[in-house]
């Protein structure tokens, strides 16, 4: 999982996103147990209330489910659900800044396309 958190973004969102990212990369598969709240607290050195807030959001969105007394697990629908949500913001978050930068640097759309094709 991602290592460092930034202080200038809500920490509970970052906790939520780092678990989502681990689900997207497959590091956490459906029905895998996610790290416990206390593990997250000690790994990232954040307040337990903050961790709880991030994990609760995942629970509310059905990304994870709870097994009473055992822990939180990745739901079967999680990867698809996360993908769909991030696809919606992909253009605004990644494409627009990329195009803006490309224009600044005088890189044409065709050139940009070639670069992407090379990957």
């Amino acid at each position: 999982m991602r290592q460092a958190l930034d202080n200038d973004r809500p920490l509970f969102l970052q906790i939520k996103e780092l678990i989502e990212d681990a689900i997207l990369t497959g590091e956490l598969a459906p029905d895998d147990q996610i790290p416990s709240n206390s593990q997250l607290v000690s790994t990232y050195g954040v307040n337990p209330v903050t961790v709880h807030k991030g994990v609760s959001l995942l629970l509310d969105e059905g990304i994870i489910y709870k097994r009473r007394g055992i822990g939180m697990y990745v739901s079967r629908e999680a990867p698809e659900r996360i993908r769909t949500r991030y696809q919606k913001s992909f253009r605004a978050e990644y494409i627009e800044p990329l195009l803006e930068r490309a224009v600044l640097l005088g890189i044409s759309i065709e050139e940009l396309g070639r670069m992407m094709g090379e990957r």
């Binding site: 958190l5 202080n7 920490l11 416990s36 050195g45 954040v46 307040n47 709880h52």
Partner: protein, 291 residues
């Protein structure tokens, strides 16, 4: 199970911490404080560890209030960061909580009671502040002696934990505090603060003089022990960016007044850390600051 009795006795269980349900703090037991807190008197417990109502404090021989009509409440089992510039009134607030001073006006309540010289409250409030001069009277003893004192005066004292912490900070039990390095002395005080497990634990710039490794060790230990034994922690610091993840609440004071009190997650916005916020709020006219 003394410490659990106390957690219950003060009315400060672990409701606010996420994994509290699995913790055994909800057991009701009788104790001196339980009786006074549940007797239905006006001072009975309200779910707040700290309540300041219009508190003013003026030191003898001065013409201005060090604190002016300060009001705030802190729920049980929160870790609150207390931020303020030099002379803003942080230490005055903490000294009032520790029962060392009486307000000139207004009321201070700790677990529902007036803490001033109150023997049923004072043992449950640990106040750790910088006392770093090697020749200070408090630094005349060997580390082991402070641990013995902790066992005497702190009802929730955990001696095994204290010795474990001394090892983690590399402090020999037989070393005299005045012969320790600054960082070791600060660490020793923090060890006492942690092992006291006081339901209200106050750290006033307590880790000043510790190097970065020690500071991180301290934060790790504080969080780990807080998970095991939730308690109310008030923590003043000038190292806001280093410490800000620790806090669930933030209280910012300036010039003896409350500027802001809110949840840390509400204040920390996109592109604005708590440290940024603090600076923008307390920068005086004509001052500049480059991050």
């Amino acid at each position: 199970m003394e410490r659990e009795e106390m957690m219950e006795a003060t009315g400060c269980g672990a409701e606010r911490t996420p994994e509290s349900t699995s913790k055994p703090f909800a057991v009701n037991t009788s104790g001196a404080l339980t009786e006074s807190a549940s007797a239905g008197s006006e001072t009975s417990h309200t779910g707040y560890a700290i309540e300041f109502t219009d508190v003013s404090l003026r030191y003898p021989g001065t013409r201005e209030d060090a604190l002016h009509k300060v009001s705030f409440r802190l729920p049980c089992d929160t870790i609150c960061g207390l931020f303020g510039r030099n002379g803003a009134g942080k230490t005055s607030i903490m000294a009032l909580l520790a029962g060392l001073r009486q307000p000139s006006a207004g009321t201070v309540r700790v677990f529902g009671q007036d803490p001033f010289e109150n023997t049923s409250i004072v043992p449950h409030v640990s106040y750790i502040y910088l006392k770093n001069a090697p020749d200070d009277l408090m630094n005349a003893y060997k580390a082991r002696r402070y641990l013995q004192m902790g066992a005497l005066f702190r009802p929730q004292w955990d001696g095994d934990y204290a010795r474990f912490l001394l090892k983690r900070f590399d402090i020999p039990e037989k070393k005299t505090a005045s012969k320790m390095s600054q960082g070791q002395r600060a660490a020793l005080r923090c060890v006492i603060g942690l092992a006291s497990r006081a339901p209200l634990s106050i750290f006033d710039e307590a880790y000043l003089g510790m190097d970065a490794v020690y500071r991180h060790l301290f934060i790790d230990e504080l969080l780990a022990d807080y998970l095991r034994f939730p308690r109310t922690i008030l923590f003043s610091t000038h190292y806001i960016s280093e410490m800000e993840r620790l806090f669930s609440e933030v209280l910012i004071i300036d010039d003896g007044r409350v500027l802001l009190h809110d949840e840390a997650d509400t204040l920390r916005k996109e592109g604005q850390s708590l440290a940024d916020l603090f600076i923008s709020l307390t920068l005086k006219e004509g001052e500049s600051y480059d991050a």
